[in-house]
């Protein structure tokens, strides 16, 4: 058995239990009834963890939009109310949760890279489904509203070769791989309203690349970006209202800062129309917004602050205005990565 198959075998075996001592919820949860609950449900179980999941009692009846934030540092997923960013749940049991996406049912998919698994959580944070992406390194996902398909971006192959996009029809079954031969690392993606998938990453020379998998196409192609330089791939989302693509840069200006760009898409060309600066609670540029999520007139996401200028925190900013955050919560985040809005 080689190391890779050994790893997969161990990974599968680790799913057999979901135990762990309960830990007190964060201080700001004290207003809620403490409904400490196992996340296990049906045949699906998350990994054993040092502590159990926590859900605010009011979450079970909450119908308004929620923000799900994955944190690879704590290996947890946090659920916040919107726009107040009040912590409503901490879902434990992940290994390396990263990018997220949401579907029309309000469910949120979590890409767990190290577990090589996509987990589907309900609007209320309960595990309802999982897809093993054996051999892939899932880092993010996108959900196609026109078909119900789930696209999973696999960063790279386990043997150190290029990644791909795996498309799961109706969010189940086996993933069908798609690639752009010019792309090596596959990071974040988003569908437009016609079912075309846009995704970013790094090319074989380590430079930023934006690709499109047109609806019903058999392979992806490069979208040539003009009007500016994007250095390191961040979020990809379709702004339906403006019919434009929103792309994040984790190294804005080739520095330790993140920003967003809006791009007009025409054929195989993408033209940057606007740069959106995002600031932290201290008024400085955010260090690393890995993935943000669009909602009406706002963008929400977290700053993984390895720059040392401000604590890691989850924010809501005006969109497309950006600038200073309108709300923040810095009580839970360690290495926040993914974000998705559950409606």
């Amino acid at each position: 058995m080689n190391a890779r198959s050994l790893g997969i075998a161990l990974s599968l075996s680790s799913l057999a239990a979901c135990t762990g001592a309960a830990a007190p919820p964060p201080a700001d949860q004290s207003a809620f009834n403490r409904a400490t609950t196992s996340v296990a449900r049906g045949p699906f179980r998350l990994h054993a963890d040092r502590r159990r999941s926590w859900f605010a009692a009011e979450l079970a009846h909450k119908q308004s939009s929620l923000l799900f934030v994955s944190d690879s540092g704590t290996a947890d997923v946090y659920v916040y109310s919107l726009p107040a960013l009040k912590l409503m749940a901490t879902v434990t049991g992940f290994s390396q949760p990263q990018g997220e996406c949401s579907d029309n049912k309000g469910n949120v998919w979590i890409a767990d890279t190290n577990a090589q698994t996509m987990y589907e959580l309900s609007h209320h944070g309960r595990l309802v489904n999982e897809i093993k992406t054996t051999g892939a390194y899932p880092v993010s996902c996108a959900w196609d509203a026109t078909t119900g398909d789930l696209a999973v971006m696999s960063l790279f192959n386990g043997s150190g070769t290029s990644g791909d996009v795996l498309v799961y029809a109706s969010g189940s079954g086996s993933g069908v791989p798609y690639t752009n031969p010019s792309q090596y690392y596959y990071d974040f993606g988003g569908y437009d309203s016609e079912g075309n998938l846009f995704f970013d990453g790094l090319d074989t020379n380590g430079n930023f690349i934006l690709s499109e998998l047109p609806r019903n196409a058999s392979s992806a192609e490069t979208i040539k970006v003009s009007g500016g330089t994007i250095y390191y791939p961040g979020m990809v989302a379709w702004n339906t209202a403006k019919r434009e693509l929103v792309v994040g840069d984790q190294s804005c200006g080739n520095s330790y800062a993140s920003c967003l760009y809006t791009l007009g898409i025409s054929g195989k060309a993408g033209t940057i129309s606007r740069e959106i600066a995002l600031k932290n609670s201290s008024g400085g540029p955010i260090c690393d917004l890995v993935q943000g999520a669009l909602l009406n007139g706002e963008v929400a996401g977290s700053d993984f602050d390895f720059c040392g200028s401000s604590p890691s925190a989850t924010y809501v900013w005006a969109f497309p205005g950006g600038g200073n955050p309108t709300n923040s919560n810095a009580k839970s985040d360690s290495v926040p990565v993914g974000a998705a809005v559950s409606k």
């Binding site: 190391a3 680790s14 054993a48």
Partner: protein, 334 residues
């Protein structure tokens, strides 16, 4: 078939009064397999054959306090560096200069490729240097300091021997026993083989970063726990983490670590192995061989394997002059 180089040592031996590490019976000073017709002496007993500078060289820190130097491909002794208290981890810069962490003397010595006298000394006092790494993008020297169970170590970084060092500490990890820069100038550090109350863990210092950041480094299974980590280095494509009989390849991207693969290195005897040095003579490519110290009750040697293939037994070994090898480094000829 093992290709062991175990030359007979002559009757003339020089006793050394060193305080070697790991603990053990100090071996006599190493003499050349065949005395060179002319060799250079420095200090007390350091020597190097004149042809050493034209060779790919393997440097080995030994428990007897000496650093032995070999022709990498022939595996024959070309020199010995003495006057060190407790040499441990080693690293090499782009020019082939070799840095030896002298744990006991609280300093790091820089030797030119094939040289016998330090060309620079990095004062690490009051800390105890355990391992080191050179940033390929800037030439900075990073040193992992392990100050023992009663103190907290740090990562010390120098831009030059004459500059003041900058230190970075991490209360979660405590002490440091390994560090390695990747090809982009990010540093991955570990507290290594933990004897104290800490768990083995890692921290990341971004290129030009201001603080260490704890990072979860995955292994070959989703519930992987690191144990006896011996070192961290760059193999040309990935960060390579030593853990006794294996090297785990990791990709570090924007604060996320990803497991890539494993190389397993075995030998006939059950020995303690590592840390390792990876031979890489490519431009931007991955290393092709790996060398590490092995020692047990009946053997003390340095062994070679193919990389990243590894193997069930070494492709070659060196025993002459090896005494509980700890640090190893490969310096390519210019």
């Amino acid at each position: 078939m093992r290709n062991t180089v175990a030359a007979a040592i002559g009757a003339a031996v020089l006793l050394t009064g060193c305080t070697g590490a790991p603990a053990g019976v100090a071996s006599p000073g190493v003499v050349p397999e065949a005395l060179p017709t002319s060799h250079v002496l420095h200090g007390d007993r350091s020597w190097m054959t004149p042809d050493a500078a034209g060779q790919d060289l393997l440097y080995v820190s030994n428990g007897n306090g000496e650093v032995t130097v070999y022709r990498y491909w022939q595996r024959t002794l070309v020199g010995v560096l003495t006057d060190m208290t407790k040499p441990m981890g080693e690293c090499v810069d782009k020019t082939g200069d070799v840095y030896v962490a002298d744990f006991g003397a609280e300093k790091i010595l820089e030797f030119a490729h094939g040289g016998t006298k330090p060309i620079a000394t990095f004062n690490d006092a009051p800390d105890s240097p355990y391992a080191c790494s050179i940033d390929p993008t800037s030439g900075k020297l990073a040193v992992a300091n392990d100050d023992g169970s009663s103190a907290q170590g740090n990562i010390a970084v120098w831009t030059s021997a004459s500059s003041a060092r900058t230190t970075y500490s991490d209360s979660t990890l405590g002490n440091f026993q390994g560090c390695g820069f990747d090809g982009s100038g990010n540093l991955l550090a570990t507290n290594g083989v933990v004897d104290y109350s800490k768990k083995t863990g890692f921290a990341w210092l971004p290129k030009n970063g201001t603080k260490l950041i704890n990072i979860n480094v995955p292994g070959p299974s989703s519930n992987w726990r690191w144990g006896a980590v011996m070192g961290v280095q760059w193999d040309g494509k990935f960060l390579a983490i030593d853990e006794e009989y294996a090297i785990y390849r990791i990709s570090l991207m924007h604060g996320q670590a990803y497991y890539v693969g494993t190389s397993e290195m075995f030998a006939e005897e059950e020995n303690n192995t590592g840390p390792y040095a990876i031979y890489n003579n490519t431009q931007g490519g991955q290393g092709t061989q790996v060398v590490g110290g092995m020692h047990g009750e009946s053997v003390s040697e340095v062994a070679y394997w193919d990389y990243p293939a590894g193997g069930s037994e070494p492709i070659a070994t060196i025993t002459h002059g090896v005494d509980k090898a700890f640090g190893v480094a490969i310096s390519l000829k210019k």
